[in-house]
Amino acid sequence: MKSKNYIWSILLIWASCSQPDKETSILVGSCPNIFPDYVGVTIPYNIAPLNFSTVAPEEDIKVASFETEGLRFEVKANKGFIDIPIKKWKTLLEKSKGDSIAVQITSSKQGQSYSYHPFYIYVSQHPVDRYIAYRLIEPLYALWNEMGLYQRDLESFKETPIYENKLTAHNCVNCHSFCSHSAGKMLFHMRGEYNGTVLIDGNNIEFIDFKAQSGQNMVYPSWHPSGRFIAFSTNDTYQGLHPSQRIEVYDRSSDIVICDLKTRKILSPSILSSPNYLETFPSFSPDGTTLYYCSASTQTVPDSISKLRYSLCSISFDLDNGSLGQTDTLYNADIQGGSISFPRISPDGNFLMYTQSQYATFPIWHNDADLHQIDLRNNQQISLSEINSEKSESYHSWSSNSHWVVFSSRRIDGLHTRLYITHIDKKGKASKPFLLPQKKKDFYKLSMKSYNIPEFVKDRIPVHQAAKIAQKAKEHK
């Protein structure tokens, strides 16, 4: 009898210990403070799992439950990190398309269990392009060692190289650009001893040294949707130390030229290469009839750099012969203040998103730099307060279906640029953005690289293409 009691008491203790903490945990009325902040975000239904942990180091997540209509599962934390199984996540997203997911977290702090009020993740019916291409590079000053262009599969965590500079003597590779989000038609520049532009059209890889042809280095590109023309800016760029924002980057001169791939000619229209103005950041409209760009009257730099303000302009474009028409100023920085960079038009032609900072042309170093948007149907400004932060927001690109924008922001630590994705609805309203999800808990904490020039791409670039590109560059040299 005694032994029976003994067994029962052990079983009772075991049972009480193994019970979930629900009864004993304190209910917290607010949402938990998690990193990345996925509370209330809108996501596409084909995104990788949104893994997270708590912000407070003394608090450990124990378990998180995910629930949508007809499906619920729990994920136990590993050292405070919720690593969601990809299969379960995909099923969950499939079921919650156009709806939301309720996420409830139980955590422990100093031996006490806390059960948080559930938060919601909204799942859009619109998918996002499967890949994002970007450059990974250290964020500061002039030098680099290893850098590369990479593609990230948004449906998983897989990142593969498009091109790494270790293949060509650690030279600079930059300004990758895709024609209508197509992996099969793209370009990027190489600098240093392999100076030139790599043009990829299907299986055809071409290496063009524009500098040898025109005496100018091509910089910021924009593909014409027809694939026949590419507008480039030609920037003479300098860098200096800044007393508080680390560095300042500025152009002493810049023009826009248009490269006709059919005739192999470089058109340098006088209207876009005035010596009294700095023209930069060309961007073709999706219908190919308009070229948007930024323009500022020249100043003595760096001494008068704070007076350097870029306006947002557009000019009509004739795709038959590449000729230009009349210019128009959409945003006059001299009157309206600020300085404009990176005009980008949504593929449906409805919206134009741009970056605005106080002055000059390199907003990434300006904490005041924010994203702004114009509804091109009525030329009205649309507030993007949902996606801006106290730190710099700069480069951005639209998805092919015009429903998603990926943009770079320094909101986490003020230095390393990270990628955020936001949903844009029919009226141009942006949802709360979410940080590009990662598999590892401390990925963003430990990564010393910045994400540079994020671009949505519809399909995957084959990895073995890099060896062919290197071969072309070497042959050209």
């Binding site: 250290e138 130390l241 800044h242 680390r246 630590d413 990895v463 073995h464």
Partner: protein, 586 residues
């Protein structure tokens, strides 16, 4: 039995002596070299890093080399670890030669390849992973020739290149070469199947090129990747010699080794002869290739890193000096309060000897980061620390520490926290990083800190200045913002004096002299004021010139005008600014 015991004792004596002499040599000649190269890598002791390394070809040896190098921060460990690696490599090589030709008792043949690799390790551009990879090849090759059955060897000849390719990279070529030599030595015909290792290796090389793991197919066969920067390598052939020494040693062993037998009685003399040959060769080559200036710079760098200003001054290599070493010397003089007094005792050659332009090299970035930090130019210190970090192929804990300093001073706490987190993953810098967590988000603590406080105080920015390109403008701002720190003003005035730019000096003098920024004149500054206001002798006292300085100038003038006093009299003024102004070229 007696004979075996005797041979064993002789061998122990041989290897013991070899190890001891090598250790003493390395410690005596290269102690600061090991301390220097340790800081050129940041090694996180984490599972993630291990997995990340293992996921690339050659990753394991790279990991092992970094693991070993992290201990070089401790005194004597660099020399000890290099000796241990050398002895272990020799032991493996001896096992191989014994297996191939049991009667061939030459230790010199077993030692030569490791002597070459050991010499390579004394080159800063060489990656230690090349040596670790070679030792791994020796282990695998020994295992291969010990396999008892033909089928096992056949399997191994295909599998080992794959394993070695992934773990050790291009050194697999040496394994293949070994297999070829071993196979071609009168083996039965069926053993030729072991040559399947060649197509396996060729296939892997093609694959690694196709997958863009490497830039061209030749990288799989040649040792070039074991140099960090080929443009800095003066003698690439030495690396190739080290590689070739392995098949040559094998060839000698299998061809003539079987025919030679050394008489038992002479073995002791033969061993001593071998020992002599090895060390004579080692000494000769290392002395010939030794860059004594570089080693002196590394010693100076160690003192700079540890703020041992007196040692920098006492060991200053005047004969081997360059702009960078004089920059560091002047910094040491300023920290010891002797910059003004002893300025012209050393070879000053214009403003660049105070602060030179950066040559875009890592060693320059390390020195510039420290120089600017000590002066208080935190923006530039951060720039050079960051550029140096980027130039370091595997990170750089010393520069990361400097970046933590600068970010804490600027108040960029999230970035400082990131760097602290990274440094906390290392074994030897963890404690320092943890101690610096207390400054995060704590302005009060930063401002009350003896080092960070006054540096932050000097950072008050000028709203009119958005880009600071001019070093002198920065120094002037630092001096004006924090008059308690005399170094920026001293550097600024000395910079103008060394450039013989008395106009700029006078501009500063009129602006700041007799203010709290510049309350009194130092001797050299007085000499400069006399040089500029020579015709206003009655006003010298009110301009801050002491009677002694005035008298000395008159004595110099007398010596210059009276040629009978000769050059010796003029030479007694070598320590003055006037002498520099008149006779020294910039």
């Amino acid at each position: 039995m007696e004979k075996e015991k005797y041979n064993y004792i002789i061998r122990c004596f041989f290897w013991g002596s070899t190890g001891l002499i090598l250790f003493l040599f390395l410690q005596y000649k290269y102690a600061f070299y090991f301390l220097y190269i340790e800081q050129l890598q940041l090694f996180p002791l984490t599972n993630d890093y291990f997995i990340q390394k293992l996921s690339t070809p050659g990753g394991l040896v790279s990991y092992l080399a970094e693991f070993i190098t992290q201990f070089y921060s401790l005194p004597y460990v660099g020399a000890s670890m290099t000796t241990i690696l050398f002895l272990f490599g020799c032991f493996c090589m001896q096992k191989i030669t014994n297996k191939l030709a049991p009667a061939f008792d030459s230790l010199i043949v077993a030692t030569v390849p490791m002597v070459c690799f050991c010499l390579l390790q004394l080159d800063m551009n060489y990656r230690q992973e090349g040596t670790v990879a070679f030792i791994l090849v020796l282990v695998f090759f020994y295992l291969f020739i010990c396999l008892p059955h033909f089928y096992l060897r056949l399997t191994a000849s295909v599998i080992i290149p794959v394993i070695l390719f992934w773990l050790a990279g291009p050194t697999t070529t040496l394994f293949i070469t070994g297999v070829v030599i071993w196979t071609l030595q009168k083996r039965p015909l069926r053993e030729y199947w072991s040559l399947l290792s060649i197509p396996t290796w060729l296939m892997l090389s093609w694959l690694s090129c196709y997958q863009a793991w490497q830039s061209n197919i030749w990288e799989s066969f040649i040792p070039n990747i074991y140099y960090t920067d080929l443009s800095q390598v003066s003698n690439l052939s030495f690396l190739y010699c080290a590689w070739i020494s392995f098949p040559v040693s094998l060839f000698i062993t299998v061809s003539i080794g079987r025919k030679i037998h050394i008489a038992h009685k002479r073995i002791i003399f033969f061993r001593l002869f071998e020992l002599g040959i090895i060390f004579a060769g080692f000494w000769f080559i290392s002395e010939k290739n030794q860059d004594t200036t570089l080693l002196a710079n590394m010693e100076q760098d160690y003192y700079l890193r540890n703020k041992r200003w007196k040692d920098i001054i006492s060991t200053f290599p005047a004969q081997k000096s360059n702009l960078q070493t004089i920059n560091i010397l002047n910094l040491a003089l300023s920290n010891e309060g002797k910059l003004d007094q002893d300025l012209f005792k050393y070879p000053q050659r214009g403003g660049e000897t105070l602060l030179s332009n950066w040559d875009e090299r890592l060693s320059g970035a390390i020195a510039q980061a420290d120089l600017h930090y000590m002066i208080g130019n935190i923006g530039a210190a951060q720039k050079y620390a960051y550029e140096g970090y980027i130039l370091s192929p595997n990170g750089n804990p010393r520069l990361l520490k400097r970046l933590i300093d600068t970010n804490l001073i600027f108040g960029f706490y999230p970035v400082a926290e990131k760097y602290i987190t990274i440094l906390e993953q290392t074994c030897f810098y963890k404690k320092w990083a943890q101690e610096h967590r207390k400054y995060l988000n704590n302005d009060k603590m930063v401002e009350s800190d003896s080092e960070y406080g006054h540096k932050r105080k000097a950072l008050k920015e000028n709203p009119d200045e958005t880009v600071c390109l001019d070093f002198t403008r920065v120094l002037e701002r630092l001096a004006a913002n924090n008059p308690d720190n005399p170094i920026p003003l001293l550097y600024l005035t000395t910079f103008h004096l060394l450039n013989k730019d008395l106009t700029s000096f006078d501009h500063l003098y009129k602006k700041y002299y007799q203010t709290k920024i510049w309350p009194t004149l130092t001797i050299r500054q007085q000499e400069a004021v006399i040089a500029w206001y020579e015709d206003q002798r009655p006003n010298w006292p009110e301009k801050g010139i002491s009677p002694e300085t005035g008298q000395r100038y008159l004595a110099l003038k007398d010596a210059l005008q009276n040629h009978n006093l000769g050059n010796k009299a003029i030479a007694s003024f070598e320590d003055t600014y006037w002498y520099y102004l008149l006779f020294k070229k910039e």
